[in-house]
Point group: C2
Chain length 445, copies 2
């Protein structure tokens, strides 16, 4: 039924513009994008043959930062024709990534004055907010019609913009309600629109952060949500596919930051991009590693007397680091899903301490017994086990406190938590272990 990618590629490369035009309505632009992104050669053959509206929809599928590369090769007149097929918010996304003022001006000059104003308005919203995500393609209607009259209206004026919901607004464009297309098609023609309108609309405020937007889509399971301004005027809609892209990006960012990599790095980043993304964090980590080494150095006299301490000490710090990372990760994820608030923070805090004590006792006992046999000295085991227990509790404490404080300070908790937590577990781990060893020194030799 469905064409394979190779069949599609053959058609696009060998077909005449007419043959392509006949088939193209039923081809998803994401599939064409896959093909032309795979080979520069294919791109140069295929792209110019495509109808302008298809090029526009391929540009819409492309990542924001690469959209302009698909438009740039065309002559001015063709660019203009392609831009005419694009929605204002997609043009705004394209321009939003350009840094060269000349390029921005060129694109804007290709628009007529109304679209230019719209695009400039859209560019004024922060990209990471509901306003930056929204499209202005939606249908708003008045509520005093019947289903039949509304269908006539849609047949005449709607074309593309009728997505999944229609919005009811009053004369001054204040949002009054929402109607599902599903209710339009299943209600008898004589039904009053007001009777299938839900007045209790969930709205997004244009300044809402995109993470908050994503969490609301997940909570309510919507496919589209209206965006309003301070006076509750309907100014746009956010669609779920854009939200899924946001979710994917936000999570990748969180995962990256937890590992000490910049939020933007991807598998296909260049060597230079990866180098720039990773080196700053490595250098920060180096400082904290030096701090930990300085702690060890304070106790070099102890180590010189009992060299076997040097083999065991990295177990104490390493295990603390692992436990801290565990607790930290659960907290950071909970924070970004909005699952932690005043009502449960203290409970979670107590839980983390309890878990630290429990795992500390288990791991502490194992380490104590192992170290005792390793060194042939029960006091050595006692020192190692006790240090392990203390460091595990400290690790879980840090794993809770660090991200919560960072969030309070409006810093992304994923950003720097890991460094702080492992600094704590490294420094304290060495301190507990070597400190106790120094206290018990006469018994260890």
């Amino acid at each position: 039924m469905s064409m394979t990618n190779e069949q599609l590629r053959q058609l696009l490369i060998e077909g005449t513009p007419e043959q392509i035009q006949d088939a193209i309505d039923n081809i998803h632009p994401a599939d064409i994008l896959d093909i032309i992104n795979n080979s520069e050669e294919d791109l140069n053959i295929i792209l110019p043959k495509l109808p302008n509206d298809v090029i526009a929809s391929i540009i819409e599928e492309e990542e924001d930062e690469d959209k302009y590369n698909l438009l740039e090769p065309f002559l001015k007149e063709r660019q203009k024709a392609i831009l005419e097929e694009m929605s204002d918010d997609e043009i705004a996304d394209l321009i939003g990534e350009l840094e060269d003022e000349k390029q921005i001006k060129e694109v804007l000059d290709n628009l007529d004055s109304e679209n230019q104003d719209n695009v400039k308005q859209l560019l004024s919203y922060e990209p990471d907010t509901a306003g930056g995500l929204m499209s202005t393609e939606f249908i708003s209607i008045h509520s005093n019609n019947t289903v039949l009259e509304t269908l006539w209206y849609l047949q005449k004026y709607a074309e593309q913009d009728a997505k999944y919901y229609l919005y009811v607004v009053d004369k001054s464009k204040v949002l009054k309600g929402v109607i599902a297309l599903r209710d339009i098609v299943t209600s008898s023609f004589g039904t009053k629109i007001i009777d299938i309108t839900n007045p209790n609309v969930k709205t997004l405020f244009y300044k809402d952060d995109q993470e908050e937007v994503a969490n609301r889509f997940i909570k309510y399971g919507f496919v589209m949500m209206p965006v309003v301004d301070e006076e509750n005027h309907l100014i746009g809609v956010v669609e779920v596919d854009d939200v899924m892209d946001v979710m994917e990006d936000e999570t990748t960012e969180d995962i990256n930051l937890l590992a000490g990599v910049s939020g933007e790095e991807r598998v296909d980043s260049t060597v230079l991009e990866s180098f720039k993304s990773r080196t700053p964090w490595l250098i920060v980590n180096l400082f904290t590693a030096v701090m930990a080494a300085a702690v060890v150095n304070q106790f070099s006299a102890t180590i010189a007397k009992v060299v076997s301490l040097s083999a065991i000490m990295s177990i104490v710090t390493g295990m603390g680091g692992n436990a801290g990372t565990q607790s930290l990760t659960i907290l950071v994820r909970g924070l970004s899903l909005g699952e932690i608030d005043h009502s449960n923070a203290f409970k979670i805090f107590c839980k983390e301490i309890m878990v630290g004590v429990l795992t500390g006792v288990i791991i502490g006992v194992i380490v104590a017994i192992g170290s005792m046999f390793f060194a042939g000295n029960p006091y050595f085991g006692l020192v190692a086990g006790l240090a392990m227990l203390l460091n595990m509790v400290a690790a879980n404490l840090a794993g809770f406190i660090v991200p919560v404080i960072l969030r309070k300070m409006n810093i992304d908790p994923a950003l720097a938590s890991g460094v702080f937590v492992t600094t704590v577990t490294d420094c304290l781990g060495f301190f507990f272990f070597l400190g106790l060893a120094t206290l018990f020194l006469p018994l260890l030799r």
Copy 2:
């Protein structure tokens, strides 16, 4: 326009069933769920007062593992009435989480025989596949009608099930095409359905893994996709809200596994759940820490002669661990987003080595200079810098190879990558540093 949560809570607690019935159509069940999940007391007052269809929709909003808790308190007759309002796939989700055979039988006995068969059929699909995710609420039509005839049909028979798309099937239920409701409402009444049908339908196979399902929704931006069996019969649909839940769960799982925590742990897990989730990995980590300690122990003679090695060695292993985690994280995320395949794997491999060499040189030089001044001995610096460089390259190599091999073996790369990679960087780090130190020993003292 929209009620606040507190207003809603007041209404639900103080309102009569009639008052609630009047308001309830426009209230989102997720909001009611929030309120009753916040307080057991509210739950006991509110739930019994609600109409059965609202209780059903609240159960649908609840996490799978807690659905049954909302149904259980009711008497058998009321349970039956609530289940009648639930869709078969939601009932299957509810039953899928039950472990007690008696409970499962009780729920099934409350269904009529047709629904029982449907639910049993749905339970036969793996929960983590398209079949396990799909609902059986969709409208399939034949294509020889006009838009007007289709609207009449929908008004008469559709009610709930007309979501965003209708599906065209032939007499033996083989999927032939898809029609957007949007095209139904914007096409003139005389339009032939066949003319607005897209025959090039993107389908899901019922055995497709849910991660693959999520990636296809993201790629194509759909809100609903049809699920077919081996003979291309339409057997269900997957909706985007379920996919978003999958994305959220899969990411939380990935993030957790990368940190050595079970995929199921959440901030609101109990002490015991968290303990069970974390301890196994801590014990695995303990083994690898012991391996690393064993490497150190091999060189205790060297350390005894140059105690300052013990302060620097943890820098070499720690930095290697950080670099390995960076590279690993980028790879694991790329694998789960389906961004790595045969066509780019080698390129990424080369990039990781290059990044390892570059960061290794930078960090190696800093560590070398620092160590040189610390020990007052240029050879000490040389040993530390060289070990650092070697370990950084090894770290990036391991960060690439480990997840790729795990994926080849069909093990979730997020699951165990971290442990393997830090084992490599710890053991090799100590080995490189202390081994070189032993070679250069005469020059270090």
